[in-house]
Subunit: 103 residues, 2 copies
């Protein structure tokens, strides 16, 4: 994903909906870990279509985005469609310090 | 809205995206205040169509719902369409203790 360096704080925390690989693995701490997650994901899946809606604002420091995605598993060829909600928290500098995914 | 008594904790807090009537008014504290907000809203607007998507889960205690609504202002007749995201937090008894609206 382009823009990570511009949009995210270096210490940003990313939280998936659930642990995927043992206790505590839902949470990725720091921009390097978030980039690694993106790299893993993009290596495993190809996005073949989708839609982004938002941002939907809440207070001065949070917003939500709705992501609809059509995907293709690069290894198996299996295709899928999903929709998820992401909730972002920004700091006073306008950088994302936390993202939480709901699905 | 049906189900408030069944779904919400008595002390539930509801937070709109922004203050609508002076500082602090984004937040309604307690089920009675939430019911009053619903009554006000339903008195002001008629829902003429819409769609509810979700729940989208996050961790053990939160979920998001996407509401699309077509509305009609009962007083002016003005029609509108909006989409919003609601994020709910539940307690261990499964009751909603907090709702936050993003729009």
């Amino acid at each position: 994903m382009a823009g990570l360096d511009e949009l995210y704080d270096e210490g940003a925390v990313s939280v998936e909906a659930m642990d995927m690989n043992g206790p505590g693995t839902a949470t990725s701490r720091g921009l390097a870990a978030i980039k690694a997650k993106h790299e893993w994901w993009n290596g495993a899946f190809e996005v073949t279509g989708g839609k982004v809606e938002g941002p939907y604002l809440h207070g001065a420091d949070r917003f939500a985005v709705i992501f609809a995605m059509e995907t293709r598993n690069r290894e198996t060829g299996e295709t899928g469609a999903m929709q998820e909600v992401a909730v972002y928290t920004v700091n006073e500098a306008g950088r994302i310090v936390r993202e939480e995914f709901f699905y």
